[in-house]
């Protein structure tokens, strides 16, 4: 029979709304308002997982996002499944399924549990030390580790949910809606600041909302009653937006924060459809008020990890907020007064509290007296030395603590219990604060890290700022609000607070046992199974930096980032190394504060919205004619046009032959086009290209090579002089944006005196490149009145013409070595122009060709493609393009670098042609080239950059970069491949029509 531990009705639990859910395949019941954790506890289920390394049984430890143990897989086996979810944050709904993650085959019987008994062999750095050697065994180790570790499973089908992003600009962002956050938001909004209040929970009020301690009063009400009234008033305040279930994941510079708003995770499956599941809020706030509260610390003692051992404050929340008793025989273990509040809370509800173990010598506060009056036994100056119970705590052993707190004395007392609440004091939640770049200081008296200097417009209020008592909180909050928001009066001026709270605390980071440390298991990081002795071992082995100890022991490296144990790890290091905590510093808290789903991060940018893509104005024609496409930058370019089931190779061979034998047509619209105007345009081109431009006549075109200042080839293309002060520059398809950026940079910063204006016109024109011996005949048909004679319209010249009434720019330039024309029209006429060319070319078997054929044809001519035959380390000299480098010009970008000792070395890699001895073998692009086969190691001389089977030459051709290749003409080299060695001969890279006779054919 399942025990029911529901103890009293709570206003946050709707007992009329009974909900069934499954955990590890078994059906349980809870109520609307429960989290998975509270519902399981109500069913007396503590055991929810196994630890990572030793596979020790682990139970629910907390009631919030800091939970290290209760990490579950939600809705396993469905396309909505999500791993690494904290059971303490999952709101239950009808039909919810969840399972434990880190156990195999089941949480009750776990094979990996054997690691627990082998634990002497699993010390700190175990994975580093053991699995490193021999390297070849790693695959086997990895299989074993992954199989038994089981860090959750990702879904295997598409996520059905919608995710969203939203930008928010506000005057004041308040993070955390506990008492401080609510009061801060209320007063900010009332003073006309546009305010946003966010909290990760579904209810406002933080821990004060269930604070029924009768000794604390605000305006004569309990803090809980008083705060409910304040929350009620928020509804009527303008300028205030409130978002619950919203967790701030990251706090970047300049008050830019990312938060995840959870909209449907608490709903039944049928209510989730067609709704936005999670929304990423990108918040830019003028001021940020952090009210993130504090996390209770555990205590570090032997076997402190058994199911049933929880934070004292969590036990209180389960009882007060969810109406659930976590155990029937409860004991508390504490170093401060907090545990007494929890004990009293249970006592008032009739839940049995056996005893309180307090490491302090005494406390005289009212609440301690009240606990004593209730007849609860308090053991002063005692510590727990061991705990018992495998899958559930069943008892503890305690002993008297020595005066200095380092050892135990006297005889052992055993106490039987099924739940232990641990209270080690409070750690301000400064994670977001430090993410923002602000610095912490260590408060030696309170033994906590506190916000120190703020670098952005922010304040930390309430317990995250180090104020733990309600009177301090309200007083300091009031002052900080007035200073930071520059306001004179607030609601808080006249609040009357009476409190009786003691802050006395005895801090011992690692509590002693009667056994030597080596024989105990005091866990510091529950999720990653790091113990105090692992940390001490790391120090003995010479690790000093906190960041190194963290990585070596894996402390704080789980999905919870060690929210519970990091302070103890620091404390133990400080104690052992004999340094002060403040000198040690902290590890870095990195975003996200709690894990984010990938869906939230990408938002709507999935599928076809993942990246922008660009299509040419002629694209529809390519699609209609069944082109295959390739991505070039963001462009979708026609790659080849297969007909009758051709392979790519067959299509490319056909297209290449047709272009040389009769006519081909290429969509060249993607080439970058920059319009250059101004009285200094010629001088500008002189400075950016390697060759001379001043003497280029109007109406002429010239090929230009652009270098980086380091002398390496950056881009190339043909530029045409349209008028006295007017040029049109073309760039490579992929380089267009960068070239424009680079030219603008020089114009604005180095040569502001030049009268030059640059405009990108890439998208304004569509370009059809007509090539082959019949290109002239085709153009003649389209524009009968244009004189196409070599005298009137020679190679490398430009004409403006009309096709019907469409104006066009025609350049007679060639990237294939054939007689060709590039016809440019306004983009919207692109498809029309293309269709006219196809129609006119029919009688000449005009063949559309794609980028692959273009690459092949230019390779036959030995023309380079920047980015394929160059890689940012090739000078024009390396490319054997000395002819394009002006000797006369005094300066151009990169000129000086061509005379550096390094760029003048003879043995640089240089561009050459390669011919395979067997003309049918096509080399692989990227293949390495060597001069010796029987030598080891052998020098890699270079690699193949372009390689094709040329249908026009009927043999394999390749371009390659080879060390000292310029002087190797005719030399035999080798391309060693996996199964064979290919014999090659260095050749002239111009394989076809070396004398350029076809340009005028």
């Amino acid at each position: 029979m399942i025990k029911n531990l529901r103890v009293k009705s709570s206003e946050y639990i709707d007992e009329t709304n009974r909900i069934s859910f499954k955990f590890n395949g078994k059906t349980y019941h809870g109520f609307k308002g429960d989290t998975l954790a509270s519902a399981l506890l109500a069913n007396d289920v503590h055991l929810v997982g196994r630890s990572f390394k030793y596979h020790r049984p682990r139970g629910i430890m907390t009631s919030g996002s800091e939970e290290p143990n209760a990490i579950v897989q939600v809705n396993p086996g469905t396309n909505r499944t999500e791993p690494n979810v904290r059971a303490t944050e999952v709101e239950i709904y009808e039909g919810l399924e969840a399972s434990s993650q880190n156990c195999w085959p089941s949480v009750e019987f776990d094979i990996g549990g054997i690691n627990n008994f082998l634990s002497p062999f699993f010390p700190a750095g175990f994975y580093y030390k053991t699995f490193m050697w021999p390297a070849s065994f790693w695959e086997k180790y990895e299989f074993f580790i992954r199989h038994s570790a089981g860090l959750g499973k990702s879904p295997t089908s598409n996520d059905p949910d919608i995710y969203d992003h939203r930008n928010i600009h506000c005057d004041v962002l308040v993070v955390g809606a506990g008492i401080s956050g609510i009061l801060a938001a209320k007063n900010a909004a009332k003073n006309n600041f546009k305010t946003l209040l966010v909290d990760e929970k579904n209810e406002l009020g933080g821990s004060t909302i269930f604070e029924n301690n009768k000794f604390n009063k605000i305006d004569n009400k309990t803090p809980s009653e008083w705060l409910k009234k304040e929350i009620e008033e928020l509804k009527n305040i303008k300028n205030l937006e409130i978002k619950t279930r919203t967790s701030v994941a990251a706090y970047h510079q300049y008050n830019y924060l990312l938060a995840r708003e959870n909209l449907t995770d608490h709903l039944e499956a049928k209510d989730k459809t067609n709704k936005i599941r999670q929304r990423l809020l990108k918040i830019r706030a003028k001021k940020v008020i952090l009210a993130t509260g504090a996390l209770e610390r555990p205590l570090i003692f032997n076997n402190n990890d058994r199911p049933g051992i929880m934070l004292s404050s969590a036990i209180k929340k389960y009882s007060e907020f969810y109406g659930v008793a976590c155990g029937s025989k409860n004991v508390f273990f504490t170093n401060n007064d907090s545990a007494y509040e929890s004990a009293l809370s249970l006592y008032n509800k009739g839940i049995n509290v056996e005893a309180i173990i307090d490491i302090r010598e005494q406390s005289e506060s009212k609440i301690v007296k009240k606990v004593k009056e209730a007849g609860i036994k308090v053991y002063w100056s005692h510590t727990i030395v061991d705990t018992a119970g495998y899958k559930r705590l069943n008892g503890i052993s305690i002993m008297k603590l020595s005066n200095d707190g380092t050892s135990v004395t006297g005889s052992k007392i055993s106490i039987s219990c099924d739940c232990l609440g641990v209270a080690g004091g409070w750690t301000p939640a400064v994670h977001l604060y430090t993410q923002s770049g602000s610095k912490l200081k260590f408060d030696e008296e309170k033994q906590i890290f506190l916000p120190n200097q703020n670098t952005s417009q922010q304040i930390s209020v309430g317990s995250c700022g180090g104020d733990f008592k309600i009177d301090e909180i309200i007083k300091n909050l009031n002052q900080k609000l007035k200073d930071n928001l520059n306001i004179k009066e607030t609601d808080l001026d006249n609040i009357k607070v009476e409190i009786d709270q003691e802050n006395s605390k005895r801090n011992i980071w690692l509590l002693p046992s009667d056994k030597p440390l080596g024989k105990t298991k005091p866990f510091v990081d529950y999720q990653n199974d790091a113990t105090a002795k692992d940390i001490k071992l790391a120090l003995r082995e010479g690790f000093r930096s906190i960041e190194h100890v963290k990585r070596y022991t894996t402390t704080g490296m789980g999905t919870d980032q060690g929210k519970l144990g990091n302070m103890h790890a620091l404390g133990i290091i400080a104690d052992t190394a004999g340094v002060k905590m403040g000198e040690l510093g902290t590890t870095t808290f990195r975003p996200p504060y709690t894990p984010l789903t990938f869906g939230t991060i990408v938002g709507r940018n999935v599928g076809k919205f993942f990246d922008i893509f660009r299509r040419t104005p002629i694209n529809d024609w390519h699609v209609e004619n069944k082109a295959e496409f390739e991505n070039v930058g963001q462009w979708k370019r026609a790659w080849y046009y297969p007909i009758n089931g051709e392979t790519m190779h067959q299509a490319v061979q056909r297209e290449s032959k047709a272009a040389r034998e009769s006519a081909g047509i290429l969509d060249a619209s993607t080439l970058g086009k920059i319009d250059i105007q101004g009285s200094d345009a010629s001088e500008f081109l002189n400075r950016v290209y390697t060759n001379a431009w001043s003497k280029l006549a109007v109406g002429k075109c010239r090929y230009g090579l652009m270098l980086n200042e380091d002398g390496m080839v950056y881009d190339d293309g043909v530029t045409t002089r349209l008028g006295e002060n007017h040029y049109i520059m073309t760039t490579t398809t992929g380089g267009a944006a960068n070239v424009l950026g680079k030219l603008e940079d020089y114009l604005q910063t180095e040569w502001p005196e030049l009268d030059v204006y640059l405009t990108s016109v890439t998208d304004h024109y569509a370009t059809a490149s007509l090539c082959g011996p019949n290109s002239k005949n085709i153009l003649k048909k389209i524009i009968p009145d244009l004189d196409l004679s070599d005298e009137n319209f020679p190679h490398m010249s430009f004409k403006e013409a009309h096709i019907g009434n469409i104006q066009c720019r025609i350049m007679r330039i060639s990237f294939t070595g054939e007689h060709s024309y590039e016809i440019n029209v306004q983009a919207s006429y692109g498809k029309d122009l293309w269709e006219k060319c196809i129609e006119a070319g029919k009688e000449f078997n005009i063949t559309p060709y794609g980028t692959e054929t273009m690459h092949l044809l230019r390779a036959e001519k030995g023309f380079i493609i920047v980015g394929q035959d160059t890689d940012g380390t090739m000078t024009p000299i390396d490319l054997q393009m000395d002819w394009i480098v002006s000797k006369k010009k005094y300066d151009f970008i990169g000129k000086r670098s061509l005379y550096r000792s390094d760029t003048m070395r003879e043995d640089r890699k240089q561009l050459v042609g390669l011919l395979t001895d067997d003309p049918n073998i096509v080399l692989e692009e990227g293949a390495q080239i060597v001069s010796e086969l029987n030598q080891s190691p052998v020098e890699m001389l270079g690699h193949v950059t372009s390689s094709y089977f040329s249908p026009n030459l009927k043999k394999s051709i390749a371009l390659a970069v080879v060390r000292g290749g310029k002087d190797m003409m005719g030399k035999k080299l080798f391309v060693p491949m996996e199964n064979k060695n290919i014999n090659v001969t260095v050749a002239n890279p111009v394989f076809y029509d070396e004398k350029n006779e076809r340009l005028n054919a």
Binding site: R284, D745, R900
Partner: protein, 90 residues
């Protein structure tokens, strides 16, 4: 994510900008007169200091103008922004 006050457009998100390295390194007027070492000094040597640094930034997805920024790299505080050609603040 910085909030950058473009001198031509006003405050914009960092996403719109491109960083352009150290500021106030002038391209030599007569590169051919320089030794290899002097040219290398211009070409390669850039400071990357922890503290106050002078940088070039470009409003790449906005007005496309270049400008200068004084930034403390230790805390990312932007101390000043001024146009190209203007003198850095003292």
């Amino acid at each position: 994510m910085f909030l950058i006050n473009c001198p031509y457009c006003g405050e914009r998100d960092q996403q719109e900008f491109k960083a352009g390295g150290e500021a106030h390194i002038e391209r030599p007027k007569q590169p051919t007169e320089l030794s290899d070492d002097e040219w290398a000094e211009y070409l390669f040597m850039r400071k990357n200091i922890k503290g106050v640094q002078f940088e070039r930034w470009n409003h790449a997805h906005g007005c496309r103008k270049w400008f200068n920024m004084v930034r403390d790299t230790s805390n990312d505080e932007i101390k000043a922004i001024y146009k190209m050609g203007e003198k850095p603040p003292a």
